[in-house]
């Protein structure tokens, strides 16, 4: 069990800035995120797109914003628990108990939910009764290449993941790459390499086709694909790899007993506390009158929430409002001499 002043759920820009606002007040936080890297939507959805409405930063990309926030919170040496999703939140003696799907456990007086639109998860194939093959014949990621050796593999998707894995796995397996249109959107040199392998008969490309059905018992034996005109084709298949990007799912947050409004959490705009004492919601996931889903709104929200977190984590200390320009204490915490 790890004790901390605050558990922050979500490592997007607002979750990261929460570390800063808590850190300058002397509070320790941990951050948990389901993605394999910090940055949330900024890094997953628009790493290269410029953002123009961060105060005093006329233009920066999602990646640059994330990198700068990580730089800004460096002095606080915060642990980021990545590839982990919070599964359980429950009240335990006047504190909150938080458990992740990886089995990490935390005890904390404060939880800040900076969860955006939810956690990112692979977009799954939508055919009926297909879940039973998941993890056996259907995969949404390649964790261990060895499991994909000497197989008949059908890879779905038109982006870099589909193309890169087609190239890599074609070294030791029989690959069919299937995409709904003739154009691929991956890097040109990868597309060229794939076309070359197709010419040599080492990869089979099927476009414009989509998955129609799968046949098998415990494991998949074959699949049927269909084109826009209804023409079908059956392919002997051991494994389906599907790369249709990520979707955002609210997930377990909806089950924590918080007052919700559709997919957002209702908060008190004075301190961004939810209907439960010590649980806060900030950024895109929170909802109050006049709420704007902007990064800059999220920055304001964590600043206010961090004050309430301080009061709960340090009930015997008086909160003092201080400026970073003049406070010796804050400058020490930032490692400035």
């Amino acid at each position: 069990m790890i004790k901390t002043d605050v558990v922050i759920i979500g490592a997007g820009p607002v979750g990261l800035f929460a570390v800063h606002q808590l850190g300058i007040k002397g509070l320790k936080a941990v951050v948990i995120d389901n993605l394999d890297k910090a940055g949330g939507q900024c890094i997953e959805l628009y790493p290269d797109k410029p953002i123009y409405d961060i105060p005093a930063v006329p233009e920066c990309t999602g990646k640059e914003l994330t990198d700068r926030l990580l730089e800004q919170i460096k002095p606080f040496k915060t642990n980021l628990y990545l590839n982990e999703r919070v599964e359980e939140v429950k009240s335990e003696n006047s504190n909150w108990f938080v458990k992740t799907n990886d089995g990490n456990k935390f005890s904390t007086p404060n939880i800040i939910i900076a969860g955006g639109v939810g956690s990112f998860e692979p977009r799954k194939l939508a055919l009926k009764d297909i879940e039973k093959y998941e993890g056996k014949s259907i995969f949404y990621a390649v964790k261990n290449k060895e499991e994909f050796k000497n197989k008949n593999i059908c890879i779905f998707g038109g982006g870099d993941s589909a193309l890169d894995w087609s190239l890599e796995l074609s070294k030791f397996s029989n690959i069919t790459l299937i995409h709904r249109r003739n154009e691929f959107r991956g890097a040109q040199h990868t597309i060229d390499a794939i076309k070359k392998l197709e010419g040599q008969g080492k990869i089979s490309i099927k476009t414009p086709f989509q998955l129609e059905k799968v046949e098998g018992d415990d494991e998949i034996k074959s699949i049927t694909i269909k084109d826009d005109n209804g023409k079908t084709e059956k392919i002997k298949t051991d494994i389906i790899l599907s790369f249709f990007g990520l979707v955002m799912k609210l997930g377990p947050i909806a089950e924590w007993g918080l007052n919700m409004d559709k997919k957002t959490i209702s908060v008190n705009p004075n301190n961004f506390e939810t209907s439960k004492k010590g649980i806060f919601a900030v950024g895109d996931i929170c909802n109050y009158e006049g709420k704007l889903k902007l990064i800059l709104s999220g920055f304001h929200e964590v600043a206010l929430a961090s004050v309430e977190c301080f009061k709960r984590a340090r009930p015997n200390e008086k909160y003092r409002f201080e400026f970073t320009t003049s406070s010796k204490t804050i400058q020490d915490r930032l490692g400035k001499k």
Binding site: K49, R123, A126, G157, G159, V247, M248
Partner: protein, 106 residues
């Protein structure tokens, strides 16, 4: 104000009025049209405002840019008449536009 007609996969239909200059997605969200999730808020990054545009209207719309077509690859059950409703801006010319929401968005 232009009217936009939303049908769902069950054949139900809902007509809404949308101000010129808003996108079809924004109109849908403001009028609580079911089946338009719009998770990313219109930044062409999620494909959860995916609609099928009625054939007679499809060619009247400005063509989708590459980024939109790339994103439609990710959508649930994409078809030839698939569009992202966040990329269709409402004008008087689109009065009476008919779109169908897919069975689900993700």
């Amino acid at each position: 104000m232009p009217k936009i007609i939303f049908k769902d996969s069950q054949g139900n239909s809902k007509t809404i009025e949308v101000d010129n200059g808003l996108t079809v997605m924004e109109g849908a969200v403001q009028n609580e049209v079911p089946g338009i999730d719009a998770d990313c808020g219109g930044s062409m990054a999620c494909a959860t405002c995916h609609v099928y545009v009625e054939e007679s209207w499809f060619n009247k719309l400005p063509k989708a840019e590459d980024g939109e077509v790339d994103m439609i690859d990710m959508a649930f059950d994409p078809k030839k008449n698939s569009r992202l409703s966040c990329q269709i801006t409402v004008t008087d010319d689109l009065d009476g536009l008919v779109v169908t929401t897919p069975e689900k968005q993700s």
